[in-house]
């Protein structure tokens, strides 16, 4: 019986090293990379990202999405939407004016509304809070643009997992299970 106690004490000592706890409601912040995969299928359009809620346009400015399709990071309060603007209607000077010169919110909205555009994605976030114990390290969201739809969810989500922690957790459980089986075997022999 004594040697079992040594094992279980060791197990308890390992727990805090993992820095995780099911009953702990604390959270941590992780960044989300958002990427549009099929931007090159729309050579006649310019795609812009803009924060449509939360802090407002001046804290969530208009950003042009480059050909790699990566949606740039925004302030944590920005809920980002992606718009398609046909190249014929795209006016970089107007975008610059909205981002840099306009101070009045109504004026910003008026100028923004004057751009002929089409919303293709909404509800994009640059970061997310997850439980501190989470084994997820990073999240990458991938979108496929379809001009006939407004997407509210990514088409593909990739989560990077901390496999070291997963292994430790599984090992502890496995050791406990082996001990349980061993105890039952010995008890059955008696």
């Amino acid at each position: 019986m004594k040697k079992y106690f040594v094992f279980v004490v060791l197990l308890i000592l390992i727990f805090p090293l993992i820095n995780a706890d099911i009953i702990m409601p604390g959270e941590k912040r992780i960044n989300i990379e958002n990427k549009i995969d099929n931007l090159n299928e729309f050579p006649d359009y310019v795609f812009i990202s803009v924060g449509t809620e939360g802090a407002g346009l001046w804290m969530c400015p208009i950003k042009i999405i480059e050909s790699e399709g990566i949606i740039q990071e925004y302030h944590k309060y920005c809920y980002i939407s992606i718009y398609a603007i046909s190249k014929g209607n795209f006016n970089q000077t107007l975008i610059g004016r909205i981002n840099n010169e306009s101070k009045d919110y109504d004026e910003i909205l008026e100028l923004f509304d004057s751009i002929p555009k089409q919303k293709v994605i909404e509800n994009v976030r640059s970061y997310k809070t997850i439980p501190k114990i989470s084994i997820v390290k990073d999240i990458s969201n991938f979108y496929e643009i379809d001009l006939s739809k407004v997407k509210i969810k990514p088409d593909k989500i990739k989560k990077q997992i901390n496999y070291g922690e997963v292994l430790i957790y599984l090992l502890i459980s496995l050791i406990a299970l082996i001990l349980i089986i061993e105890i039952k075997k010995r008890e059955n022999k008696k």
Binding site: M1, Y4, F5, V8, L11, I12, F15, P16, I18, N19, A20, D21, I22, I23, M24, P25, G26, I130, P131, K132, I133, S134, I135, V136, V166, I168, Y169, L170, I172, S173, I175, A176, L177, L179, I180, I183, K184
Partner: protein, 104 residues
């Protein structure tokens, strides 16, 4: 340190519940309680870490512990069910509150 405290608190509370049920053989109850928690905690942490579903995680822990209590203590399924339910309700509630106060 708070993690160790929370873990020990959980085990301590479960031991109290187990002892109320069994009322003898403290060492055996302690060992079985630690082993049960050592098995379910890491798996629960993995599951919760991946899904964020606290209640579902607790339900899975409760169901797993029914079986472990049954085979380790050699008691009927009904009794194991009640024991697991009480132990997990108490620990989940108290440790969640403690976690809220000291960690956030």
């Amino acid at each position: 340190m708070i993690y160790l405290t929370l873990l020990l608190l959980t085990i301590l509370m479960e031991i109290v519940v187990y002892l109320i049920f069994f009322r003898k053989n403290f060492k055996k109850v302690l060992l079985y309680c630690i082993l049960i928690n050592a098995f379910t905690w890491p798996l629960a942490m993995l599951f919760y870490g991946l899904t964020n579903f606290f209640i579902l995680t607790e339900i899975l822990v409760f169901l797993t512990e029914i079986y472990l209590i049954k085979i380790l203590f050699g008691i009927k399924l009904e009794k194991a069910f009640v024991l697991s339910l009480i132990a997990n309700l108490i620990t989940a509630t108290i440790t969640f509150v403690v976690g809220k106060i000291f960690i956030i």
